[in-house]
């Protein structure tokens, strides 16, 4: 029963996403206006040869701050897991 249900879900996803794969043109994007702007102007506006870097750090620099924050969060989380617990720092969790 369970397995049948799971298989059905997977099949549905497969079908739906396959539709996606067939519907979205590969190698020939439908619209490119924003990226064309970047390619045209990135070098002049930011002075970076690497358009990707100019996007990562300039045009979408705020995302990168968020991304760095995510890494920081993960580091804190891992540190939290393996921290040394104080004596008697125990709780009843029932």
């Amino acid at each position: 029963m369970r397995n049948v249900l799971f298989s059905a879900i997977l099949l549905l996803f497969f079908g739906g996403l396959l539709y996606l794969a067939a519907d979205l043109p590969f190698g020939d994007p439908l619209r490119t206006d924003m990226d064309d702007y970047f390619i045209r102007n990135a070098q002049a506006q930011t002075g970076a040869n690497n358009v990707v870097t100019s996007i990562v750090f300039d045009f979408r620099g705020f995302d990168t701050l968020g991304e760095a924050t995510v890494l920081f969060t993960a580091v804190l989380g891992v540190g939290m897991m393996f921290r040394k617990l104080k004596e008697g720092e125990e709780y009843e969790n029932d």
């Binding site: 249900l5 799971f6 059905a8 879900i9 549905l12 996803f13 739906g16």
Partner: protein, 113 residues
């Protein structure tokens, strides 16, 4: 009195101020009733509290534990609970399966309608 405006709900209204007034009136009535009680009552003089004719148990023994509250309610909805509680298996795989299941269902619904 900008603060205590009437809350308009489209078809009805509710004014907290009016409600406060009503509450005050009710409180007054209650106090009036209370003032008619016996003035000579003193706590712990001669009388002991009792529960259905028995002595009061020590150390909160008379306190009804939470699990025993609403026993009747739970009993009457037993068949419902027998279905719904086992769904909360606590297994992450099931959680994921529910999420994916709802997603798949919505996919069908959205594509059909």
């Amino acid at each position: 009195m900008d603060l205590f405006q009437t809350l308009q709900t489209g078809s009805g209204a509710w004014n907290p101020l009016l409600w406060l007034v009503a509450l005050g009136v009710a409180l007054g009535v209650a106090l009036a009733i209370r003032s008619r009680g016996r003035k000579d009552f003193r706590e712990g003089v001669g009388r002991k509290p009792f529960i259905s004719g028995n002595e009061e148990p020590e150390n909160g023994g008379g306190h009804v534990p939470a699990s025993n509250l609403y026993w009747g309610f739970l009993e009457s909805l037993k068949s419902y609970y027998a279905r719904i509680v086992p769904l909360h298996t606590g297994i992450p795989t099931d959680y994921v399966a529910w999420l994916l299941g709802v997603m798949a269902l919505m996919l069908v619904v959205v594509l059909v309608f």
